[in-house]
Symmetry: C2
Subunit: 255 residues, 2 copies
Protein backbone atom coordinates (compact mmCIF):
# COMPACT_ATOMS: atom_id res chain seq x y z
CA UNK A 1 0.00 0.00 0.00
CA UNK A 2 0.95 3.63 -0.25
CA UNK A 3 3.40 4.07 -3.07
CA UNK A 4 5.49 6.45 -0.98
CA UNK A 5 5.82 8.81 -3.89
CA UNK A 6 9.32 10.18 -3.72
CA UNK A 7 11.05 10.78 -0.39
CA UNK A 8 10.02 8.36 2.31
CA UNK A 9 7.31 9.88 4.52
CA UNK A 10 8.51 9.85 8.06
CA UNK A 11 8.62 8.14 11.45
CA UNK A 12 10.58 8.42 14.67
CA UNK A 13 14.13 7.14 14.62
CA UNK A 14 15.07 7.22 18.27
CA UNK A 15 13.93 7.95 21.82
CA UNK A 16 12.62 11.48 22.02
CA UNK A 17 14.31 12.44 25.24
CA UNK A 18 17.63 11.25 23.93
CA UNK A 19 17.32 13.52 20.93
CA UNK A 20 16.40 16.52 23.04
CA UNK A 21 19.39 15.94 25.28
CA UNK A 22 21.62 15.49 22.25
CA UNK A 23 20.56 18.95 21.20
CA UNK A 24 21.53 20.40 24.56
CA UNK A 25 24.86 18.65 24.20
CA UNK A 26 25.58 20.80 21.19
CA UNK A 27 26.31 23.65 23.58
CA UNK A 28 29.77 23.87 25.08
CA UNK A 29 32.09 26.41 26.64
CA UNK A 30 33.18 27.71 23.22
CA UNK A 31 29.71 27.80 21.72
CA UNK A 32 27.24 29.14 24.23
CA UNK A 33 25.00 30.64 21.59
CA UNK A 34 23.83 28.67 18.59
CA UNK A 35 21.49 29.20 15.66
CA UNK A 36 18.85 26.66 14.79
CA UNK A 37 20.85 25.48 11.81
CA UNK A 38 23.97 25.10 13.95
CA UNK A 39 22.07 22.94 16.38
CA UNK A 40 20.64 20.80 13.59
CA UNK A 41 24.09 20.34 12.06
CA UNK A 42 25.85 19.57 15.32
CA UNK A 43 23.19 17.12 16.44
CA UNK A 44 22.75 15.61 12.99
CA UNK A 45 19.00 16.12 12.81
CA UNK A 46 16.60 17.54 10.26
CA UNK A 47 15.84 21.21 10.68
CA UNK A 48 12.15 20.77 11.25
CA UNK A 49 12.70 18.25 14.01
CA UNK A 50 15.29 20.46 15.65
CA UNK A 51 12.94 23.38 15.44
CA UNK A 52 10.10 21.56 17.14
CA UNK A 53 12.26 20.13 19.91
CA UNK A 54 13.86 23.49 20.63
CA UNK A 55 10.42 25.02 20.85
CA UNK A 56 9.47 22.56 23.54
CA UNK A 57 12.69 23.15 25.44
CA UNK A 58 12.14 26.89 25.15
CA UNK A 59 8.59 26.65 26.44
CA UNK A 60 9.86 25.11 29.63
CA UNK A 61 12.83 27.43 30.02
CA UNK A 62 15.62 24.92 29.46
CA UNK A 63 16.86 27.17 26.68
CA UNK A 64 16.20 30.80 25.85
CA UNK A 65 16.00 32.62 22.61
CA UNK A 66 17.32 36.15 22.33
CA UNK A 67 15.88 38.82 20.07
CA UNK A 68 18.65 37.89 17.64
CA UNK A 69 17.21 34.40 17.27
CA UNK A 70 20.18 32.68 18.91
CA UNK A 71 19.53 29.90 21.38
CA UNK A 72 21.28 29.88 24.77
CA UNK A 73 21.09 27.67 27.84
CA UNK A 74 18.30 28.99 30.03
CA UNK A 75 18.27 30.02 33.65
CA UNK A 76 15.93 27.21 34.53
CA UNK A 77 18.63 24.72 33.66
CA UNK A 78 21.13 26.62 35.74
CA UNK A 79 18.78 26.46 38.70
CA UNK A 80 18.38 22.74 38.28
CA UNK A 81 22.10 22.24 37.91
CA UNK A 82 22.64 24.11 41.16
CA UNK A 83 20.78 21.29 42.88
CA UNK A 84 23.36 18.67 41.86
CA UNK A 85 24.78 17.43 45.15
CA UNK A 86 28.32 16.57 44.10
CA UNK A 87 28.92 19.75 42.17
CA UNK A 88 27.71 22.77 44.11
CA UNK A 89 27.50 21.30 47.59
CA UNK A 90 31.04 20.06 47.57
CA UNK A 91 32.17 23.20 45.83
CA UNK A 92 30.84 25.50 48.51
CA UNK A 93 32.30 23.49 51.35
CA UNK A 94 35.70 23.33 49.70
CA UNK A 95 35.99 26.87 48.37
CA UNK A 96 37.49 28.56 51.44
CA UNK A 97 40.16 25.86 51.74
CA UNK A 98 40.99 26.07 48.07
CA UNK A 99 41.45 29.80 48.45
CA UNK A 100 43.81 29.28 51.36
CA UNK A 101 45.80 26.84 49.30
CA UNK A 102 45.93 29.27 46.42
CA UNK A 103 47.04 32.14 48.65
CA UNK A 104 49.77 30.12 50.33
CA UNK A 105 51.27 28.55 47.24
CA UNK A 106 50.33 31.09 44.58
CA UNK A 107 49.78 28.16 42.25
CA UNK A 108 46.76 26.75 40.41
CA UNK A 109 44.31 24.83 42.56
CA UNK A 110 41.78 22.38 41.18
CA UNK A 111 38.81 20.50 42.57
CA UNK A 112 37.40 17.53 40.65
CA UNK A 113 35.07 14.54 40.91
CA UNK A 114 34.82 11.31 38.98
CA UNK A 115 31.99 10.75 36.52
CA UNK A 116 32.20 7.30 34.99
CA UNK A 117 35.66 6.95 33.49
CA UNK A 118 36.41 10.66 33.42
CA UNK A 119 37.35 13.48 35.77
CA UNK A 120 35.14 16.55 35.80
CA UNK A 121 36.62 19.78 37.10
CA UNK A 122 34.23 21.36 39.55
CA UNK A 123 36.24 24.38 40.63
CA UNK A 124 39.51 25.94 39.75
CA UNK A 125 41.42 28.86 41.19
CA UNK A 126 44.01 30.28 38.87
CA UNK A 127 46.98 32.28 40.05
CA UNK A 128 48.14 34.98 37.73
CA UNK A 129 51.80 34.11 38.12
CA UNK A 130 51.43 30.33 37.85
CA UNK A 131 51.67 27.95 34.92
CA UNK A 132 48.80 28.67 32.58
CA UNK A 133 46.54 25.61 32.74
CA UNK A 134 44.15 24.65 30.02
CA UNK A 135 41.37 23.19 32.07
CA UNK A 136 38.11 25.01 32.72
CA UNK A 137 35.32 24.33 35.14
CA UNK A 138 33.09 21.66 33.60
CA UNK A 139 35.88 20.18 31.50
CA UNK A 140 36.40 16.44 31.33
CA UNK A 141 39.68 14.54 31.21
CA UNK A 142 40.95 10.98 31.18
CA UNK A 143 41.31 9.48 34.67
CA UNK A 144 44.74 8.07 33.94
CA UNK A 145 46.78 11.21 33.50
CA UNK A 146 46.04 14.11 35.85
CA UNK A 147 46.83 14.33 39.56
CA UNK A 148 43.17 14.42 40.51
CA UNK A 149 42.43 11.65 38.02
CA UNK A 150 44.95 9.28 39.57
CA UNK A 151 43.49 9.86 43.02
CA UNK A 152 39.95 9.27 41.85
CA UNK A 153 40.93 6.21 39.83
CA UNK A 154 42.88 4.74 42.74
CA UNK A 155 39.75 4.82 44.87
CA UNK A 156 37.24 3.95 42.16
CA UNK A 157 35.33 0.64 42.09
CA UNK A 158 37.44 -2.22 40.75
CA UNK A 159 35.28 -2.58 37.65
CA UNK A 160 36.08 0.97 36.61
CA UNK A 161 39.79 0.46 37.23
CA UNK A 162 39.90 -2.79 35.28
CA UNK A 163 37.94 -1.43 32.37
CA UNK A 164 40.30 1.50 32.07
CA UNK A 165 43.50 -0.45 32.55
CA UNK A 166 42.52 -3.09 30.02
CA UNK A 167 41.30 -0.62 27.43
CA UNK A 168 43.41 1.78 25.39
CA UNK A 169 45.03 4.53 27.46
CA UNK A 170 45.14 8.09 26.21
CA UNK A 171 48.60 9.56 25.68
CA UNK A 172 49.10 13.32 26.03
CA UNK A 173 52.90 13.66 26.21
CA UNK A 174 56.03 11.53 25.98
CA UNK A 175 55.89 11.16 29.77
CA UNK A 176 52.28 9.92 29.91
CA UNK A 177 52.21 6.50 31.52
CA UNK A 178 50.34 4.07 29.32
CA UNK A 179 51.66 0.77 30.61
CA UNK A 180 48.91 -0.98 32.66
CA UNK A 181 51.40 -2.64 35.01
CA UNK A 182 53.12 0.64 35.80
CA UNK A 183 49.78 2.35 36.29
CA UNK A 184 48.75 -0.37 38.72
CA UNK A 185 51.86 0.32 40.74
CA UNK A 186 51.18 4.06 40.69
CA UNK A 187 47.62 3.54 41.90
CA UNK A 188 48.85 1.35 44.76
CA UNK A 189 51.30 4.13 45.69
CA UNK A 190 48.50 6.69 45.66
CA UNK A 191 46.47 4.55 48.03
CA UNK A 192 49.34 3.99 50.47
CA UNK A 193 50.82 7.51 50.31
CA UNK A 194 47.54 9.40 50.40
CA UNK A 195 48.54 11.60 47.46
CA UNK A 196 49.29 11.33 43.73
CA UNK A 197 51.90 12.85 41.48
CA UNK A 198 51.33 13.31 37.78
CA UNK A 199 54.70 14.37 36.43
CA UNK A 200 54.41 16.03 33.02
CA UNK A 201 51.79 13.49 31.99
CA UNK A 202 49.43 16.09 30.57
CA UNK A 203 51.74 18.88 29.45
CA UNK A 204 55.51 18.85 29.42
CA UNK A 205 55.88 21.97 31.57
CA UNK A 206 53.52 21.09 34.40
CA UNK A 207 53.29 18.67 37.28
CA UNK A 208 50.31 18.12 39.49
CA UNK A 209 49.91 16.77 43.00
CA UNK A 210 46.53 15.45 44.09
CA UNK A 211 44.90 14.22 47.29
CA UNK A 212 41.57 12.54 48.09
CA UNK A 213 38.57 14.16 49.75
CA UNK A 214 36.35 11.77 51.70
CA UNK A 215 32.77 11.97 52.90
CA UNK A 216 31.49 11.08 56.33
CA UNK A 217 31.63 7.38 55.49
CA UNK A 218 35.25 7.60 54.40
CA UNK A 219 34.31 7.15 50.76
CA UNK A 220 36.44 9.16 48.32
CA UNK A 221 34.11 11.62 46.64
CA UNK A 222 36.46 14.17 45.15
CA UNK A 223 40.07 15.24 44.79
CA UNK A 224 42.09 18.44 45.09
CA UNK A 225 45.24 19.15 43.18
CA UNK A 226 47.95 21.73 42.87
CA UNK A 227 49.41 22.34 39.41
CA UNK A 228 52.96 23.68 39.43
CA UNK A 229 55.69 24.33 36.93
CA UNK A 230 57.94 21.32 36.46
CA UNK A 231 60.95 21.48 38.72
CA UNK A 232 59.80 24.49 40.75
CA UNK A 233 59.50 23.21 44.32
CA UNK A 234 60.10 20.00 46.17
CA UNK A 235 57.03 17.97 45.38
CA UNK A 236 57.11 16.42 48.85
CA UNK A 237 56.43 19.73 50.52
CA UNK A 238 53.54 20.28 48.16
CA UNK A 239 52.20 16.81 48.75
CA UNK A 240 52.00 17.42 52.50
CA UNK A 241 50.20 20.68 51.89
CA UNK A 242 47.67 19.25 49.47
CA UNK A 243 47.03 16.25 51.68
CA UNK A 244 46.45 18.44 54.72
CA UNK A 245 44.10 20.63 52.76
CA UNK A 246 42.16 17.64 51.46
CA UNK A 247 41.75 16.34 54.98
CA UNK A 248 40.48 19.71 56.15
CA UNK A 249 37.89 19.70 53.37
CA UNK A 250 36.88 16.16 54.29
CA UNK A 251 36.34 17.29 57.84
CA UNK A 252 34.27 20.28 56.68
CA UNK A 253 32.11 17.94 54.59
CA UNK A 254 31.29 15.82 57.61
CA UNK A 255 29.55 18.50 59.59
Amino acid sequence: MSVSRRGRPAGPTGPVIGRALRLLDAFDAERRELTLSDLARRAGMPLSTTHRLMQELCAWGAVERGTDGLYRIGLRLWELGSLAPRGPGLREAALPFLEDLSRITRENVQLAVREGAEVVFVERIASSDAVPVLTRVGDRFALTATGVGLVLLAHAPVEVQEELLNGPIVRYTAKTVTDPAQLRRMLADVRSNGFSISDRQVTMDALSVGAPIRDRQGEVVAAVSLVVRHGSTTSHALARLVRTSAQAISRALSV
Copy 2:
Protein backbone atom coordinates in the same frame (compact mmCIF):
# COMPACT_ATOMS: atom_id res chain seq x y z
CA MET B 1 -12.23 -4.83 17.11
CA SER B 2 -10.52 -5.16 20.41
CA VAL B 3 -13.05 -5.29 23.20
CA SER B 4 -10.75 -3.25 25.46
CA ARG B 5 -11.37 -5.67 28.30
CA ARG B 6 -11.33 -3.60 31.42
CA GLY B 7 -8.88 -0.71 31.89
CA ARG B 8 -8.15 1.26 28.74
CA PRO B 9 -4.92 0.13 27.14
CA ALA B 10 -2.79 3.20 26.67
CA GLY B 11 -1.54 5.99 24.44
CA PRO B 12 0.48 9.17 24.84
CA THR B 13 -1.20 11.96 26.73
CA GLY B 14 1.22 14.79 26.28
CA PRO B 15 4.53 15.92 24.78
CA VAL B 16 7.31 13.65 25.96
CA ILE B 17 9.84 16.35 26.62
CA GLY B 18 7.40 18.25 28.73
CA ARG B 19 6.82 15.26 30.93
CA ALA B 20 10.52 14.62 31.36
CA LEU B 21 11.10 18.21 32.34
CA ARG B 22 8.17 18.10 34.72
CA LEU B 23 9.92 15.25 36.46
CA LEU B 24 13.09 17.28 36.83
CA ASP B 25 10.96 20.07 38.26
CA ALA B 26 10.09 17.80 41.16
CA PHE B 27 13.56 18.47 42.54
CA ASP B 28 14.04 21.60 44.61
CA ALA B 29 16.37 22.99 47.26
CA GLU B 30 14.59 21.10 50.02
CA ARG B 31 14.30 17.83 48.14
CA ARG B 32 17.49 17.11 46.30
CA GLU B 33 17.07 13.36 46.54
CA LEU B 34 13.85 11.63 45.58
CA THR B 35 12.59 8.09 45.28
CA LEU B 36 10.83 6.90 42.18
CA SER B 37 7.48 7.00 43.97
CA ASP B 38 8.13 10.53 45.20
CA LEU B 39 8.82 11.64 41.67
CA ALA B 40 5.70 9.95 40.38
CA ARG B 41 3.59 11.56 43.08
CA ARG B 42 5.05 15.03 42.70
CA ALA B 43 4.78 14.97 38.92
CA GLY B 44 1.40 13.27 38.94
CA MET B 45 2.37 10.41 36.66
CA PRO B 46 1.97 6.65 36.75
CA LEU B 47 4.89 4.81 38.25
CA SER B 48 5.72 2.84 35.15
CA THR B 49 5.90 5.97 33.06
CA THR B 50 8.03 7.73 35.62
CA HIS B 51 10.35 4.76 35.76
CA ARG B 52 10.90 4.66 32.04
CA LEU B 53 11.48 8.40 31.73
CA MET B 54 13.91 8.46 34.62
CA GLN B 55 15.81 5.61 33.03
CA GLU B 56 16.29 7.65 29.90
CA LEU B 57 17.38 10.69 31.87
CA CYS B 58 19.78 8.52 33.84
CA ALA B 59 21.29 7.04 30.71
CA TRP B 60 22.29 10.47 29.56
CA GLY B 61 23.49 11.70 32.92
CA ALA B 62 20.83 14.30 33.59
CA VAL B 63 20.11 12.49 36.84
CA GLU B 64 22.09 9.98 38.84
CA ARG B 65 21.01 7.12 40.97
CA GLY B 66 22.89 6.27 44.13
CA THR B 67 23.34 2.79 45.50
CA ASP B 68 20.42 3.59 47.78
CA GLY B 69 18.10 3.92 44.80
CA LEU B 70 17.52 7.64 45.29
CA TYR B 71 17.57 9.89 42.27
CA ARG B 72 19.60 13.13 42.30
CA ILE B 73 20.36 15.80 39.75
CA GLY B 74 23.39 14.70 37.76
CA LEU B 75 26.67 16.43 37.10
CA ARG B 76 25.93 16.62 33.42
CA LEU B 77 23.07 18.96 34.13
CA TRP B 78 25.30 21.08 36.33
CA GLU B 79 27.81 21.37 33.51
CA LEU B 80 25.10 22.45 31.12
CA GLY B 81 23.73 24.94 33.60
CA SER B 82 27.18 26.46 33.96
CA LEU B 83 26.92 27.48 30.32
CA ALA B 84 23.90 29.71 30.95
CA PRO B 85 25.11 33.18 30.03
CA ARG B 86 23.03 35.28 32.41
CA GLY B 87 23.61 33.15 35.47
CA PRO B 88 27.24 32.19 35.83
CA GLY B 89 28.82 34.80 33.56
CA LEU B 90 27.20 37.69 35.30
CA ARG B 91 27.75 36.06 38.66
CA GLU B 92 31.50 35.80 38.23
CA ALA B 93 31.87 39.35 37.02
CA ALA B 94 29.80 40.72 39.87
CA LEU B 95 31.09 38.63 42.75
CA PRO B 96 34.07 40.77 43.77
CA PHE B 97 31.92 43.91 43.87
CA LEU B 98 29.21 42.18 45.85
CA GLU B 99 31.82 41.13 48.37
CA ASP B 100 33.05 44.71 48.67
CA LEU B 101 29.50 45.84 49.25
CA SER B 102 28.99 43.16 51.86
CA ARG B 103 32.22 44.06 53.66
CA ILE B 104 31.48 47.77 53.72
CA THR B 105 27.89 47.61 54.85
CA ARG B 106 27.85 44.30 56.72
CA GLU B 107 24.38 43.77 55.32
CA ASN B 108 22.82 41.20 52.97
CA VAL B 109 23.69 41.64 49.31
CA GLN B 110 21.64 40.14 46.48
CA LEU B 111 22.09 39.75 42.75
CA ALA B 112 19.09 38.90 40.60
CA VAL B 113 17.84 38.76 37.01
CA ARG B 114 14.40 38.79 35.50
CA GLU B 115 12.90 35.63 34.05
CA GLY B 116 9.50 36.31 32.57
CA ALA B 117 7.39 37.90 35.27
CA GLU B 118 9.61 36.80 38.16
CA VAL B 119 12.95 37.67 39.74
CA VAL B 120 15.48 34.88 40.10
CA PHE B 121 18.20 35.31 42.71
CA VAL B 122 21.53 34.47 41.15
CA GLU B 123 23.84 35.23 44.06
CA ARG B 124 23.47 36.26 47.62
CA ILE B 125 25.99 37.16 50.29
CA ALA B 126 24.65 36.91 53.79
CA SER B 127 26.12 38.79 56.70
CA SER B 128 25.94 37.03 60.01
CA ASP B 129 24.83 40.13 61.88
CA ALA B 130 22.25 41.35 59.37
CA VAL B 131 18.52 40.74 59.05
CA PRO B 132 17.95 37.08 58.32
CA VAL B 133 16.60 36.95 54.77
CA LEU B 134 14.54 34.13 53.45
CA THR B 135 15.73 34.09 49.87
CA ARG B 136 18.12 31.48 48.51
CA VAL B 137 20.05 31.30 45.29
CA GLY B 138 17.72 30.01 42.61
CA ASP B 139 14.60 31.26 44.36
CA ARG B 140 11.89 33.09 42.47
CA PHE B 141 9.82 36.04 43.62
CA ALA B 142 7.18 38.39 42.30
CA LEU B 143 8.59 41.37 40.38
CA THR B 144 6.39 43.87 42.16
CA ALA B 145 7.66 43.66 45.69
CA THR B 146 11.43 43.34 46.16
CA GLY B 147 14.04 46.00 45.56
CA VAL B 148 15.61 44.06 42.73
CA GLY B 149 12.19 43.23 41.35
CA LEU B 150 11.16 46.87 41.09
CA VAL B 151 14.36 47.72 39.23
CA LEU B 152 13.94 44.85 36.80
CA LEU B 153 10.26 45.61 36.28
CA ALA B 154 10.93 49.30 35.69
CA HIS B 155 13.25 48.41 32.81
CA ALA B 156 11.29 45.44 31.47
CA PRO B 157 9.51 45.49 28.09
CA VAL B 158 6.19 47.34 28.25
CA GLU B 159 4.22 44.15 27.60
CA VAL B 160 5.61 42.58 30.76
CA GLN B 161 4.87 45.71 32.80
CA GLU B 162 1.31 45.98 31.52
CA GLU B 163 0.56 42.32 32.02
CA LEU B 164 1.73 42.50 35.61
CA LEU B 165 0.07 45.79 36.45
CA ASN B 166 -3.24 44.72 34.99
CA GLY B 167 -3.21 41.30 36.60
CA PRO B 168 -3.59 40.50 40.29
CA ILE B 169 -0.68 41.69 42.42
CA VAL B 170 0.74 39.51 45.15
CA ARG B 171 0.55 40.92 48.65
CA TYR B 172 3.13 39.88 51.23
CA THR B 173 2.61 42.42 54.02
CA ALA B 174 0.35 45.31 54.96
CA LYS B 175 2.85 47.64 53.30
CA THR B 176 2.96 45.80 49.97
CA VAL B 177 1.90 48.17 47.22
CA THR B 178 -0.87 46.61 45.16
CA ASP B 179 -2.40 49.68 43.57
CA PRO B 180 -1.44 49.75 39.85
CA ALA B 181 -1.39 53.56 39.72
CA GLN B 182 0.93 53.83 42.70
CA LEU B 183 3.16 51.12 41.27
CA ARG B 184 3.36 53.02 37.99
CA ARG B 185 4.57 56.08 39.91
CA MET B 186 7.13 53.98 41.77
CA LEU B 187 8.47 52.52 38.55
CA ALA B 188 8.80 55.98 37.04
CA ASP B 189 10.75 57.05 40.14
CA VAL B 190 13.03 54.05 39.82
CA ARG B 191 13.81 55.00 36.24
CA SER B 192 14.56 58.63 37.02
CA ASN B 193 16.42 58.06 40.29
CA GLY B 194 18.44 55.07 39.20
CA PHE B 195 17.54 53.07 42.28
CA SER B 196 14.53 51.46 43.93
CA ILE B 197 13.29 51.24 47.50
CA SER B 198 11.07 48.44 48.68
CA ASP B 199 10.02 49.46 52.17
CA ARG B 200 8.71 46.51 54.21
CA GLN B 201 6.92 45.21 51.13
CA VAL B 202 8.13 41.64 51.61
CA THR B 203 8.62 41.35 55.36
CA MET B 204 7.73 43.92 57.98
CA ASP B 205 11.24 44.13 59.43
CA ALA B 206 13.25 44.59 56.24
CA LEU B 207 13.77 47.20 53.58
CA SER B 208 15.71 46.73 50.36
CA VAL B 209 17.41 49.14 48.02
CA GLY B 210 18.11 48.04 44.45
CA ALA B 211 19.98 49.40 41.44
CA PRO B 212 20.21 48.32 37.78
CA ILE B 213 23.16 46.60 36.12
CA ARG B 214 23.49 47.27 32.41
CA ASP B 215 25.30 45.47 29.63
CA ARG B 216 27.47 47.06 26.99
CA GLN B 217 24.41 48.20 25.04
CA GLY B 218 22.94 49.90 28.08
CA GLU B 219 20.24 47.26 28.43
CA VAL B 220 19.33 46.41 32.03
CA VAL B 221 20.28 42.76 32.51
CA ALA B 222 20.33 42.38 36.28
CA ALA B 223 19.97 44.17 39.58
CA VAL B 224 21.81 44.36 42.90
CA SER B 225 20.20 45.07 46.19
CA LEU B 226 21.01 45.62 49.82
CA VAL B 227 18.61 44.28 52.40
CA VAL B 228 18.69 46.14 55.71
CA ARG B 229 16.67 46.21 58.89
CA HIS B 230 13.86 48.72 58.73
CA GLY B 231 14.91 52.07 60.15
CA SER B 232 18.59 51.23 60.54
CA THR B 233 20.40 53.72 58.31
CA THR B 234 19.49 56.58 56.05
CA SER B 235 18.28 54.89 52.91
CA HIS B 236 19.75 57.68 50.79
CA ALA B 237 23.28 56.82 51.82
CA LEU B 238 22.60 53.20 50.96
CA ALA B 239 21.07 54.11 47.64
CA ARG B 240 24.20 55.97 46.60
CA LEU B 241 26.31 53.00 47.59
CA VAL B 242 24.22 50.44 45.74
CA ARG B 243 23.99 52.60 42.66
CA THR B 244 27.75 53.11 42.56
CA SER B 245 28.31 49.41 42.99
CA ALA B 246 25.84 48.56 40.22
CA GLN B 247 27.63 50.97 37.89
CA ALA B 248 30.97 49.37 38.71
CA ILE B 249 29.57 45.95 37.85
CA SER B 250 28.12 47.33 34.62
CA ARG B 251 31.55 48.62 33.71
CA ALA B 252 33.14 45.25 34.54
CA LEU B 253 30.60 43.53 32.28
CA SER B 254 31.55 45.68 29.33
CA VAL B 255 35.16 44.57 29.09
